[in-house]
C-alpha cells in the first residue's frame, strides 16, 4: 500500500494502517455557515486510518458531497494528528543526591484536517485547518524561562479565503527567596491577530477587517504577606500595542490597551481588588473596585 501518509509515517517510525468500514451520513458543519445551504456528507464503506510513533491518528475518508439545489461531488476528507511530543530533558539525578538545579522541557504538536472536493463549490468545509505549537522551558535555580510558539492556518477551497494566526512568546520569572518568596513573572508575545468579528474596528475602518500584528505584555508580582487576614498582594499589568495601526484605528483608540490591577487576597478566598484600564476583549476603559469571594464548586 503506497500513499503519502504511509511514506510519512514510515519515515517517523512503525505505523499501523487499517480500513474503516462503517457507513455514515451526516450534516457537515461548515467553517463559515452559508445561509440556506445544507451540506450532506456521506462516508462510503471504505477508507484508511493509521497511526505511528509520531502520529496519533491519520485518516483518509472518501466522501460524497451534496449541496442543496446543486450537483454533487466526490471528495476526500483527511485528518493528521501528531502525538503530543513532550520531552523532559532534565538530568536524571537519583534521590539521595541534591536535586538538579537545571530543568528543561520541550514539546511540540501538529494537526491538519480538511476536505478536498472534486468540485470546489460543493465543499462547504475547509480545504485545510492546520495548527502547530511548541514550547521550550528552562528552570535554572530561582529563574524560569518559557519560549513558545503557536500557529494556525485555514483555507477554503475555491475562493481561496484563508485565515492565519500565529504567536511567539517569551516568559521569564524569578523567585526572590530573600524577599519573603516574592515571585515576579513576565510574558511578552508578538501575535498576528485575525479579527473575524470586531464591530468597533469595522466601524472605525469602514471596510473589511484585515489581520494585524501586536505586542502583548503581561507582568505579575506576587508578594506573600501572611499577616492577619491578608494572605498576599498581587500586582498585575497587561498591555496590548498594535504595530503600525491604521490612523483610523488609532483615532478610535483601538490600537493600545492596558489594564493594571492590585489584588489583596484574604483568607478563605475573599479578596479586594482594584483594576484600571481595558482589554481588547473588554474595551471599556474603567476603574473598578471589586470585593468578593472566589471558590470552585465542590470546594
Amino acid at each position: 500500500m503506497k500513499c503519502a501518509a504511509r511514506r510519512f509515517a514510515s519515515a517517523c517510525g512503525p505505523c499501523i494502517f487499517s480500513a474503516v468500514l462503517p457507513l455514515t451520513a451526516a450534516h457537515a458543519q461548515p467553517a463559515e455557515p452559508v445561509p440556506g445551504a445544507t451540506s450532506l456528507s456521506f462516508h462510503p464503506a471504505f477508507g484508511l486510518s493509521g497511526e505511528g510513533k509520531w502520529i496519533e491518528r491519520f485518516t483518509l475518508t472518501p466522501r460524497i458531497l451534496q449541496m442543496q439545489d446543486q450537483p454533487g461531488s466526490l471528495g476526500i476528507g483527511y485528518e493528521l494528528v501528531s502525538r503530543p511530543l513532550a520531552r523532559d530533558l532534565t538530568e536524571d539525578v537519583p534521590i539521595g543526591s541534591p536535586p538538579p538545579k537545571i530543568r528543561r522541557f520541550a514539546s511540540f504538536e501538529f494537526s491538519a484536517r480538511g476536505l478536498y472536493a472534486a468540485r470546489a463549490e460543493a465543499n462547504n468545509e475547509n480545504l485545510i485547518d492546520a495548527a502547530a505549537s511548541g514550547t521550550y522551558e528552562l528552570t535554572y535555580g530561582p529563574v524560569v524561562a518559557k519560549s513558545a510558539f503557536s500557529a494556525a492556518y485555514s483555507r477554503q477551497q475555491g475562493n481561496g479565503t484563508s485565515l492565519r494566526k500565529w504567536e511567539v512568546s517569551q516568559g521569564v520569572g524569578t523567585w526572590l527567596r530573600g524577599l519573603r518568596d516574592t515571585e515576579v513573572i513576565t510574558r511578552l508575545a508578538l501575535a498576528r491577530v485575525d479579527p473575524t468579528h470586531d464591530a468597533d474596528r469595522q466601524a472605525a475602518l469602514g471596510g473589511p477587517l484585515d489581520s494585524y500584528r501586536r505586542w502583548e505584555f503581561e507582568g505579575l508580582v506576587v508578594i506573600p504577606v501572611l499577616k492577619g487576614a491578608l494572605q498576599k498582594i498581587e500586582l498585575g499589568h497587561r498591555r496590548f500595542h498594535e504595530i503600525d495601526a491604521p490612523s483610523a484605528v488609532r483615532a478610535a483608540g483601538l490600537d493600545r490597551f492596558r489594564l493594571s490591577s492590585i489584588c489583596f487576597q484574604l483568607e478563605d478566598g475573599f479578596f479586594i481588588a482594584y483594576t484600571r484600564g481595558g482589554l481588547p476583549a473588554d474595551r471599556k476603559d474603567s476603574q473598578v473596585l471589586h470585593m468578593g469571594w472566589s471558590t470552585n464548586i465542590g470546594e
Partner: protein, 119 residues
C-alpha cells in the same frame, strides 16, 4: 494503600516546606487542617490572572524551591528507582491543578521518597 494524613515526616515535610516558602500562614492553618487545603489557596497560585503560562512558570519555580528545601531539611532515600526528574515532573503536574490539596502533594512526594521514619 491509601495515603493517610498524619503526624509523620511525609506529611510534616509538606507542611513545613510550604510554610517555609511562605505559602500559607501557619498561625492560621494548623497541621491537622492543612491536608484538605486546595493548592489554589496557596500564595504561588495566581489569583488575578487566568494565564496558563503564568501559572505554569509559577509552579515550576515552586517545584524548584520545594525540592531544594526538602533536600536541605531532611535525609532522603528513594522508594525504588525513582529520580528527582520524575518526582519533580509529578509535583509540577500536581501544583498546576489548583483543585489538588496539600495532602495530594505530600502523597506524590511520598511515592518517591522514603523518609527516616519509614522502614
Amino acid at each position: 494503600m491509601a495515603f493517610e494524613w498524619k503526624q509523620n515526616l511525609a506529611c510534616g515535610s509538606a507542611y513545613k516546606v510550604l510554610e517555609a516558602l511562605h505559602q500559607f500562614n501557619a498561625s492560621k492553618l494548623s497541621f491537622e487542617r492543612a491536608a484538605d487545603v486546595k493548592l489554589r489557596r496557596l500564595t504561588y497560585f495566581p489569583a488575578s490572572t487566568s494565564s496558563e503560562d503564568i501559572l505554569r512558570m509559577s509552579a515550576m519555580l515552586l517545584v524548584q524551591q520545594y525540592a531544594q528545601l526538602l533536600d536541605r531539611f531532611y535525609v532522603l532515600r528513594p522508594h525504588g528507582a525513582g529520580t528527582w526528574k520524575d518526582l519533580m515532573a509529578d509535583m509540577q503536574a500536581v501544583l498546576e491543578d489548583g483543585d489538588n490539596t496539600i495532602a495530594v502533594l505530600a502523597s506524590t512526594v511520598d511515592e518517591y521518597i522514603r523518609f527516616q521514619d519509614e522502614r
